[in-house]
Amino acid sequence: MDQPKIPVDILLAHLAKDSEKAQARFRKAADVLLGPLDTAIATTPCEVVYEEDRVKLKRYVPVRERELNTPLLVVYALINRETMLDLQPGRSIVRSLLENGIDLYMVDWGYPTRKDRFLTIDDHVNGYMDNVVDFIRRRHKLRKINLMGICMGGTFSVIYAALHPKKIKNLITTVTPTHFNTNQGLLHTWMRAMGVDRLVETFGNMPGDLLNFLFLLLNPARLMIDKYIGLLEQIDNKEFVENFIRMEKWIFDSPDVPGETFRQFITDCYQKNLLIQNRMEVGGRRVDLGQITMPVLNFFGKFDHLVPPEACNRLTRAVGSTDAEDICLDTGHIGIYVSSKCQREFAPKIAAWLKQRDQPETT
């Protein structure tokens, strides 16, 4: 039998060509990396209108005349930062919402320190969130405002809407886990096995870096190797490098999660799956999703490996609202907010949906 012939000559020729290309690329890369780079994130102008402990409420400066009477409050997760919604001018959900005439507020959870380890979900939902909602209601002389939650912030928003339904006009949830007993996402499998009590006892707060490490482990081939190979291939492309650095800045800006909040979130949600069964208790009150009678718009990503569709799509069936809609986008967990395609669909859809449900309700 003949030995198969490997085209060594062709391979070597390609390697030589690639090597020349790489040399030229790295020569240009030096100019890019040593020159001025615009890698700032969260640059949309805003002012801090309310502060409590580490928590701040930001109000974004409108860019056009307001088209909605009811302001929108966005609540981000305690994991990572809300700057993801405002990564860069061309990829900013914040800007898109402002351009759609929405009066926009956003909660900045800040960076919890050791003293915050005792803060529970109750403190975040019935404490900080409720104070922020009341502040906006008073400021605009409104009985109700619109609420939008992202990921864990969405879960908080669901809990809040169930406990304070009279203060929320419309509820929007994006990549929000409410049903945790699923094997679709690795995170769900791992969190169910985690000894959370001991973690909290040792660390106090759950270190953001440890959580980030776990997220990287979800797909090390892509997140720890391929991503950086991609950067090397485009290292001479200034715009690509700038965007890449912006994303890196966001990903690794990971505040610690207050210990008791983390403990309750993992135990009650990931391990016991109490929320979707209307059995979760927050601040001594049972969270009954049937109390969510306001309109609900629920976004999730078809290819989301952190919060898979199965973790999100039961909400609309569990709430008491007759106006509840699911929207599944062809993207992943982060893609909803940063991909060009979703940028065109996501914010305009929210604006249009809210406009249809914007009858004024003054106090």
């Binding site: 391979l11 001991r198 482990l217 081939a221």
Partner: protein
């Protein structure tokens, strides 16, 4: 003939007796060398101190003499000999266990290395030898860890115990981490092997890719597949949880040792701060509840 002792015991007793005699002479000389014992002096602070020193030397001498007397009794030297023999016994046992552990490690390692060249099935992590590191960990636990668990005595027993505990937890964490790292590196090893198989297959079919980038794409896709398979396995979840738990236990043990050290310095420990934070937290909650009237219907 009948009352003759064996030469070895006789020489030991001789040695002990002459050593005792020399030591007694030394203590006697030390006592006499004390100037306070020679000349009577007026009652001053210095002479009182010197008097206490003399009493101390006298007591030490008496104690020593009593010890010498006891040692001089028949059988004492043999008991001493037995006592001394236990030291090399312990050393020998330690060395023996170390060697046994090392040979076991070497054997398991050799077994493991042999498997590296074996053909691999795609997208399976089944040829990971879970027993390999488990055996090593068992060896550590059974043969070495117990030395760190020897009960401590005396005033510093708790400090020593906490230090030993930290050392023990560090070793356990290292074992867990090694197991985890071995598992997490497995897909890389397997993807390389699979790549070789795939390339051979492509070459056989005359479809060998010209572009070097294609090889990378092929490899990264294979690697991703292996990782996905690994991550979905029960074994991986258990190893991950065990590693995090071991890290956790080590950090907790280390904190205890650090807290012991920090108590010597004028700084607060985490525990102190947590106590204060906890109290402030409770106070703030009460104040907020009073200020807000959470269930006030007017607010709703």
């Amino acid at each position: 003939m009948t009352d003759r002792k064996p030469p070895k015991a006789e020489s030991l007793e001789d040695f002990v007796a002459s050593w005792m005699k020399a030591a007694a002479e030394f203590w006697g000389m030390m006592g006499k060398a004390d100037p306070a014992s020679k000349t009577p002096s007026p009652d001053t602070a210095f002479t009182r101190t010197a008097g206490r020193m003399e009493e101390f030397w006298a007591s030490s001498r008496k104690l020593w003499e009593a010890s010498v007397k006891a040692m001089g009794e028949p059988g004492s030297a043999e008991r001493l000999q037995r006592g001394l023999q236990t030291v090399p016994d312990i050393s020998m046992r330690l060395a023996q266990k170390s060697l046994e552990g090392f040979f076991e490690f070497q054997k398991r390692w050799a077994d493991h290395m042999q498997k590296l060249g074996a053909p691999s099935e795609p997208y399976r992590s089944s040829d990971f030898d879970p027993d390999f590191l488990k055996r090593l960990t068992d060896i550590y636990k059974k043969e070495f860890q117990k030395f760190l668990e020897i009960p401590q005595v005396g005033l510093t027993r708790f400090y020593q115990e906490r230090f030993n505990q930290a050392l023990k937890k560090w070793n356990q964490y290292q074992a867990a981490l090694t197991e985890f790292l071995q598992l997490i590196c497995l897909p890389i090893e397997k993807s390389y092997r699979l790549m070789l198989d795939k390339l051979a297959e492509l070459t056989q079919g005359g479809r060998f890719p010209d572009e070097p980038k294609h090889y990378y794409q092929l490899w990264i896709k294979t690697l991703e597949g292996h990782y996905m398979t690994l991550f979905q396995s029960q074994q991986y979840t258990e190893t991950l949880v065990r590693t995090i738990d071991a890290l956790n236990q080590f950090l907790a043990a280390r904190s205890s040792v650090l807290e012991d050290a920090l108590r010597l310095l004028p700084v607060c420990t985490h525990r102190d701060l947590d106590d204060v934070s906890g109290e402030i937290y409770q106070l703030k909650r009460r104040i907020r509840a009073l200020e807000k009237g959470r269930h006030d219907p007017a607010e709703e």
